[in-house]
């Protein structure tokens, strides 16, 4: 039995502390005061403090009051001699090696969660989200964009109707079982410039500037619209909203009140990183729809060439770049890979079974 140690005993009624010697014996904690009094407490009525490096140790007594051990080191040794085993969390908190392991674990959890966890959870949430909720989200997003970002369109209603017709026919041919619900809007791009956007709930917006850029290349326009319909069909918009929410929630839990400064950054990164896969899937849908409509998917190459030419011109003129709307078409640089995909699609499709629509995941 370890030797008694000094403590200050507060009885829970008076703020005046009494200097005592604490001694544990069996299931009882004995407090011996200076006048020779002996007070016994059941050990199970004492809530012991966790070990930390700094500060005094305060034990709570269930029936009121507390015991303060001013000399923490003596207290810790005493507790150990009494056979106390600390929880592994408390032990980990004391050791730098465990701390760095925890840091590494944190990074690992972050990476795993970012690469697999968030997309997986987002798919789950999207799958259980009813269509009318998605519709409502899309409607309000569209209303906001029309208010803030987009300008009124200059495309005559007859031309608009023509495009709706063409897209409808092409989609019907590509998806005989019926395409996903869609609605085509025309708008002046404003800061977005030449662009096309797919929102949750089937809203597809193409800007006047993009139509102008693709003047005479109707197949490329159809390809762009089919690409956006691919986003609609795969519910990419809703998926992005959910992912954004999940990542912001995770960061705000992790960083607590500091979230205001840093929380936005990973959320944005997540968004941009993920959309590459989404773009690839939508590209596949676009090529498939063009093919099914009897057009050459390679027509899409023209889009990337003209976009690149425009971007180059824009750089030379030192204009400001495209707006910061990551779901917009033009935010994804036309890379070699995408051009190659459209250029070679017809050949690969001929070799393969060819007529099946790209699977949804």
């Amino acid at each position: 039995m370890p030797a008694p140690i000094a403590a200050t005993w507060y009885d829970g009624t008076h703020a005046r502390g009494r200097a005592v010697q604490a001694e544990a014996d069996g299931g009882t904690l004995w407090l011996l005061d200076e006048a020779g009094g002996r007070h016994g407490l059941a050990l199970r009525d004492v809530q012991w403090p966790e070990r930390t490096r700094h500060g005094q140790r305060v034990a709570q007594l269930t029936h009121g009051g507390s015991l303060v051990f001013a000399d923490a080191a003596v207290f810790d040794t005493w507790r150990q001699r009494l056979g106390h085993r600390e929880s592994w969390v408390v032990r980990a908190q004391q050791h730098w090696r465990a701390t760095f392991a925890a840091l590494a674990g944190l990074v690992l959890v972050g990476v795993v969660g970012y690469v697999w966890g968030v997309p997986w959870a987002a798919r789950g949430v999207v799958a259980v989200t009813p269509a009318d909720v998605e519709q409502a989200i899309g409607d309000s997003a569209l209303a906001q964009l029309k208010d803030g970002l987009f300008k009124p369109t200059k495309v005559p209603p007859a031309v608009q109707a023509q495009w709706r017709d063409r897209l409808g026919t092409a989609l019907q041919r590509a998806y005989p079982e019926g395409p996903a619900r869609w609605e085509l809007h025309f708008a002046g791009g404003g800061a977005l410039g030449a662009n096309a956007v797919a929102l949750p709930g089937g809203h597809i917006v193409i800007t006047d500037e993009l139509l102008e850029l693709l003047q005479g290349a109707d197949d490329a326009v159809l390809g762009v619209l089919a690409h956006e319909h691919g986003h609609v069909r795969r519910r990419h918009g809703l998926n992005a909203v959910v992912r954004f929410g999940l990542v912001s929630a995770a960061t705000s839990v992790a960083l607590g009140d500091f979230s205001a400064v840093i929380a936005g950054v990973p959320a944005l990164l997540a968004h941009m990183g993920y959309s590459r896969d989404a773009e690839r899937e939508a590209d596949a849908d676009a090529a498939y729809v063009l093919q099914a409509a009897g057009r050459d998917p390679a027509a899409m190459v023209l889009l990337f060439e003209r976009m690149a030419g425009r971007a180059k011109k824009a750089r030379e003129a030192d204009e400001r770049g495209d707006g910061a709307l990551p779901i917009a078409f033009a935010s994804h640089p036309a890379d070699e890979e995408r051009i190659r995909f459209f250029r070679t699609y017809r050949d690969t499709a001929r070799q393969g079974p060819g007529t099946k629509s790209p699977p949804l995941n």
């Binding site: 966790e50 700094h54 305060v58 303060v68 944190l106 959890v109 409502a136 009124p152 909203v241 839990v253």
Partner: protein, 396 residues
């Protein structure tokens, strides 16, 4: 010296005892606690959060010594767990509802507005009831009814905002793809849009005063019940000074930014690194503004509120210098950003030390003679999570 006139003699007893506040926590130690508990929180998808929070509060309380005796925090994490889940569900529903439709958002707003004051009230009770010093428990003696009266102000302003938004919104959406009528800014709309902002700015000091008054009138330890003698006028003065500081900082930045642009213009062309330089300048500017304005606000508010708080035998003396806190906030934020958040625990410890050690308690009696009041306060942990998430803390 502020005193509650109903409580004691006309002349207070001389401050015979001075209790100094000392903060003995260390950044490196709290870093280890933080990182281990953060990992556990993330691995458990947030379910461990209340346990991590209790550990954090215990550490900070235990490291705070008042007159040589540490504070203690003894909440049961399991109780907090239930409250945390409840509030998390409520907030998730609230933030989700706004996405779905305006009506759903409005319903969620009404529900949250109806529950919020009650949650805040129980948060205060819970936090105080679980804080102890020398074996005595603190108490919060405010009532739920008072909490509703205090919160009526921000909820009223928010409701005004919602109603005005509904009024301004067009009655029917224009037909899709019909070229909308060219919209000209209508003066009525602009006024309606600005009105809530003006009301909010004007009502803010009033709300802050009500909130602080409600809290600082209802702290109790033993037979000591605090009173609060800071008038509404001083809160408006405080608010105006803060607006002044904000304006000065803004003007300073416009000046510096102008010089910067003038310098660029003088060289004739923009150097290659200009965008990077501009981005760094912008981030630094944000940090400086955040530190100066936020540090000044927090430091002055702490002094204002605690210097006006006293009980029959105890009074507080807070001498936190705004420039010290602003400087600390700047380095804290800068290092936290540079270390991708790893400096955060050090920042919290530094900030707690500076703020706590600026405070002294003057006691007109020997603190040994404090005696617990009869009965024990009940605890409602649901509110604590709410207080945490909504950011209303005790402010020290």
């Amino acid at each position: 010296m502020p005193l509650n006139p109903a409580d004691g003699p006309a002349t207070p007893a001389p401050a015979a005892h001075e209790l100094r506040l000392r903060f003995v926590g260390s950044g490196s130690e709290y870093f280890r606690i933080w990182i281990v508990n953060l990992l556990l929180t993330l691995v458990t998808v947030g379910l461990y959060y209340p346990f991590a929070k209790v550990r954090r509060l215990r550490y900070f309380h235990n490291a705070t010594e008042v007159g040589g005796a540490p504070l203690s925090f003894h909440a049961d994490p399991w109780k907090m767990f239930r409250g945390y889940v409840l509030v998390a569900l409520m907030l998730a529903a609230y933030s989700g509802a706004g996405h779905v439709s305006a009506t759903a958002g409005l319903i969620a707003f009404v529900i949250v507005a109806a529950l919020w004051p009650a949650l805040w009230h129980s948060s205060m009770r819970f936090r105080l009831a679980n804080t102890g010093w020398r074996g005595l428990r603190f108490r919060y003696t405010g009532t739920r009814k008072q909490a509703y009266a205090v919160m009526a102000v921000p909820i009223g302003v928010a409701a005004l905002f919602v109603v005005l938004t509904l009024l301004v919104a067009p009655e029917a959406p224009p037909a899709p793809d019909a070229p909308p009528a060219p919209s000209e800014p209508a003066w009525g709309d602009i006024l309606l849009g600005l009105a809530p902002l003006a009301v909010m700015l004007a009502a803010m000091p009033f709300f802050l005063w009500l909130l602080k008054r409600q809290q600082h009138r209802h702290y109790a330890l033993g037979d000591e019940h605090t009173a609060f003698d800071v008038g509404l006028g001083r809160f408006y003065g405080f608010w105006l000074r803060n607006l002044g500081v904000g304006l000065l900082v803004l003007l300073g930045f416009i000046g510096v930014g102008g010089l910067f642009l003038w310098g660029l213009g003088a060289t004739g062309r923009s150097p290659a690194g200009a965008p990077v330089l501009a981005a760094i300048t912008l981030i630094l500017a944000y940090l400086v503004v955040f530190a100066l304005v936020g540090g000044h606000f927090t430091a002055r508010l702490q002094n204002l509120v605690w210097n006006g708080t006293a009980s029959r035998h105890l009074r507080f003396d807070s001498r936190l210098r705004a420039r010290d806190l602003a400087g600390l906030w700047f380095t804290n934020t800068l290092f936290t950003v540079l270390t991708l958040g790893l400096y955060f625990p050090f920042a919290q410890v530094n900030s707690a030390r500076l703020r706590l050690e600026a405070v002294r308690v003057h006691a007109g009696i020997d603190p040994d003679d404090l005696v617990a009041a009869a009965g024990r306060a009940d605890e409602a942990a649901a509110g604590d999570a709410a207080g945490d998430l909504l950011g209303f803390d005790i402010g020290l």
